[in-house]
């Protein structure tokens, strides 16, 4: 099995057809203005010239997923009141390929791996999806609006989470296998020898990295300043315009908070896990009416804290943000997390000065 390869542009569909023989292949597919990961079909309009609007996280971590099914049964014909409940969990997921996601999207899965697998209570559903999915990422030649992958420890050709990294070169894509699964994907006969494209690909990757903007220092040791983090007025100010729609969390390749609910019809039902969002008021609302995160500023503080402070504290400094920029690009009111983190990571930032300056700007109408 080869470590590198070359996929000519005109053979993309042939490659995807070959992979589709024994796997479900997800490709970024354009439908109107929106690109999302859909099961490959020959007439699909494949979108490789920009990152998909919606990341491929649902392939490995479905938006809605059955954890178990249950059934109530009568156990005694002579006593209709006697009931037993049977519970079973089943996973039999098909093999899958994610083709053409970006390195930031793949890095999202590396960030999930620590949460779902690097624990004494590993998640069997996530594990099976993850093990059965091959991720073929496409390196970015240049950043898109809102991108800041380098600042969070990634990059336009980062390999974390990917099985294959593709780099667009003249007339095709240079492919590098990063894992066993990746090498297997490159053994498809459509893939040509890639050795002669290596140098060109390396040059493109290096140049791309230099083009990415850093809204805050990329140094992973640069911690969030606790003084500003603990200032309520700061969070109130930066979330003033937030409408708590949750788009940032649903489009985020690193957000994984979930809900578990039961659905039942007659005697049978299922327990289902669904994506949830920490930006929603009812997320932490308790039955008593008490809500420990009662305001959107408190909820946003937890969201930013989780990605840039709590997760790094737990996992050796790794940041739980891949810098894909979707939450910035698609926020209906333009809340910019990179700007917020920029304030928090600025060691010279003084909370009192920040609050005074920004409160004045609001009053003057200049913010």
């Amino acid at each position: 099995m080869a470590d590198t390869g070359f996929l000519p542009k005109e053979k993309i569909k042939e490659f995807l057809e070959a992979l589709s023989k024994d796997t479900v292949v997800y490709v970024p597919t354009k439908e109107g203005e929106t690109a999302a990961f859909k099961v490959y079909s020959p007439d699909a309009e494949i979108c490789l010239d920009r990152p998909a609007n919606i990341p491929p996280k649902s392939v490995i971590y479905p938006q809605c997923e059955t954890l178990l099914s249950f059934e109530y049964k009568k156990t005694d014909p002579d006593d209709p009141k006697k009931m037993a409940v049977e519970v079973r969990a089943e996973t039999n997921y098909p093999k899958a390929v994610i083709f053409g996601c970006r390195p930031c999207d793949a890095k999202g899965f590396a960030i999930y791996d620590r949460v779902f697998l690097d624990t004494d209570t590993a998640d069997p559903y996530y594990r099976e999806h993850r093990e059965k999915t091959t991720i073929i990422s496409l390196a970015c030649e240049a950043p898109f609006a809102g991108c800041f992958c380098v600042a969070v420890g990634g990059g336009p050709a980062d390999t974390a989470g990917s099985d294959v990294l593709m780099t667009e070169v003249d007339k095709g894509y240079y492919l590098e296998a990063l894992t066993e699964k990746g090498r297997a994907a490159l053994s498809v006969p459509v893939i040509e020898d890639g050795a002669s494209y290596k140098a060109a690909a390396e040059k493109i990757k290096t140049e791309a990295r230099a083009k990415v903007k850093n809204p805050f220092p990329a140094d992973a040791t640069e911690k969030v300043s606790p003084k500003l983090f603990d200032t309520d007025e700061f969070w109130q100010q930066v979330t003033n315009k937030c409408v708590s729609c949750g788009a940032c969390t649903y489009l985020c390749p690193t957000c994984y908070c979930f809900n578990i609910t039961d659905e039942q019809a007659l005697s049978k039902g299922e327990r289902i896990r669904t994506w949830d969002a920490c930006m929603f008021r009812h997320f932490t609302l308790e039955a008593s009416g008490h809500n420990p995160r009662p305001t959107k500023s408190r909820r946003f503080r937890n969201r930013v804290g989780h990605k840039f402070s709590y997760y790094p504290e737990k996992y050796n400094g790794a940041i739980a943000c891949c810098g894909c920029g979707r939450c910035i690009r698609y926020c209906p009111v333009s809340v910019d997390i990179s700007e917020v983190v920029g304030y928090l990571k600025d060691p010279k930032q003084d909370p009192a000065t920040w609050v005074a300056t920004n409160t004045k700007a609001v009053k003057d109408g200049s913010l």
Binding site: F70, N92, P124, Y125
Partner: protein, 283 residues
């Protein structure tokens, strides 16, 4: 089921064990205790937990909620949980009968550091259903009475009918090796003991902090003033222990509801010392 399925082999943290409710006790007008036994006798025999650990109870079709196991590990004929009717799952639990089947995922979370408490005076301060997590430790300590010095329990509820575990209270009152102080918020016909909120009674009783561990649980507002009261009595932060609660779904530190900074109440807690809590951001 397929051969490669790894989700049914006992390593699936989301899969509950089926248990039968063997006895239901009406503790107060809105709190019931449920004694449950796993259907699998072998599992019941091998089940172990530590005082203070919690479990997720399932009413299949309605959902799951987190409750502390309030029977002690020294009495393993059944596991007991107490449920205050408040939301959907708790209402469904109040609708079940003895003999009905529920799901249990347990044990989850950490526990009271009872070994470190040996040879010390123990001060329990509970309010309402907040006595539940204290009960498991109180019974554990009474079952190992020689290991601990003075045991004082300050317990209060709104009215006398709102006091939980009335049988236990009777027994504790009759024991010479337990100092039980009961209080209710307001006057009530026939009530001749103390009247006043738990934090106020704590100030009146003014227990000494020397060689004493204080363990408290109750409604958030009570905990807040009890912590202040203990600070006033010069209890060091590391000798003040509490057990917390939040909305929980997964119970294994993933789903994102109950974290205080990087610590999850369901997995790293629910038991924390005040010293530990002071190091963490608010939830």
């Amino acid at each position: 089921m397929t051969d490669n399925c790894t989700c049914n082999n006992g390593k699936n943290p989301y899969l509950p064990e089926i248990a039968t409710v063997t006895r239901i006790i009406e503790e107060t007008p809105n709190i019931r205790s449920f004694q449950v036994v796993f259907n699998d006798a072998e599992k019941m025999k091998n089940f172990t937990f530590e005082p203070g650990q919690v479990g997720q109870l399932s009413v299949f079709g309605v959902g799951e909620s987190t409750f502390v196991i309030n029977s002690p590990p020294t009495r393993m004929e059944y596991l007991q949980v107490s449920v205050m009717k408040a939301g959907e799952v708790t209402a469904a639990l109040h609708n079940i009968y003895e003999g009905d089947q529920i799901g249990v995922r347990a044990p989850l979370g950490n526990w009271f550091p009872y070994n470190d408490m040996k040879g010390k005076n123990i001060l329990f301060i509970g309010g309402g259903i907040g006595l539940a997590p204290l009960r498991t430790l109180i019974l554990y300590m009474l079952d190992n009475r020689a290991d601990y010095k003075d045991i004082t329990i300050i317990y209060g509820a709104r009215t006398p009918p709102d006091l939980c575990y009335k049988d236990d209270i009777k027994e504790w009152e009759s024991r010479s090796d337990v100092n039980l102080i009961l209080t209710v918020d307001v006057e009530f016909p026939g009530w001749e003991k103390r009247i006043g909120f738990v934090p106020t009674v704590l100030k009146e009783v003014a227990p000494k902090p020397d060689n004493t561990i204080a363990i408290t649980c109750g409604p958030p507002i009570m905990i807040k003033f009890v912590l202040e009261g203990l600070a006033g009595l010069k209890f060091p932060e590391e000798n003040i222990v509490t057990t917390l609660e939040a909305r929980m779904k997964c119970g294994i530190g993933i789903c994102g509801r109950c974290n205080m900074g990087h610590k999850y109440i369901c997995k790293d807690g629910p038991v924390f010392t005040l010293a530990q809590l002071n190091e963490l951001p608010e939830i």
